[in-house]
Amino acid sequence: TQLLEQSPQFLSIQEGENLTVYCNSSSVFSSLQWYRQEPGEGPVLLVTVVTGGEVKKLKRLTFQFGDARKDSSLHITAAQPGDTGLYLCAGGLQKLTFGTGTRLTIIP
């Protein structure tokens, strides 16, 4: 079983600050996905990273896939209250396994 550990588990910061959350595994993944889940809703895909060392940007969000394809990070610049949610990394071959999640709260 490929396990994905995310850190931190909880993060609460002020609006306008920067933050980074991490997704780590001892296994190699062919790709990793990042989802955001808002309360009472299903997860929504933000990005898929495929190539080792790849960096993808989505407005204020920057996603990086580790060179060895065992880890990934999500950096948010100038966080806004709308960024609040549960951030999940996910990977796997025929079925997606989710990471342990980071619950992010942005305080106005």
Partner: protein, 114 residues
């Protein structure tokens, strides 16, 4: 516009009373998944259908069953709900069952067991 629809949004059942959750999709995707998500935890895959082929996860209790009568609909049956089965149940779909494939999630059904 909703593409993966789950009904009901909230379901209350009694301990031991069978309950069925439903999921429908308008995407014509081959794969449909059921995930269980407990409070502040990541979604955990229970099982999935690849077309009509049912794939159960090894650690999914026998208490959980599923039916997929056609491409559009998939049901989750909990035969004898226990207090520990209270959770959000998420249905998801994808066109194929490969890495990189995006999952489309419904809004979930929040199940309470009294």
């Amino acid at each position: 516009d909703a593409m993966v629809i789950q009904n009901p949004r909230y379901q209350v059942t009694q301990f031991g009373k069978p309950v069925t959750l439903s999921c429908s999709q308008t995407l014509n995707h081959n794969v449909m998944y059921w995930y269980q998500q407990k409070s502040s935890q990541a979604p955990k895959l229970l099982f999935h259908y690849y077309d009509k082929d049912f794939n159960n996860e090894a650690d999914t209790p026998d208490n959980f069953q599923s039916r997929r009568p056609n491409t559009s609909f998939c049901f989750l049956d909990i035969r004898s709900p226990g207090l520990g089965d209270a959770a959000m149940y998420l249905c998801a779909t994808s066109p194929v069952r490969v890495a990189n494939e995006k999952l489309f999630f419904g809004s979930g059904t929040q199940l309470s067991v009294l």
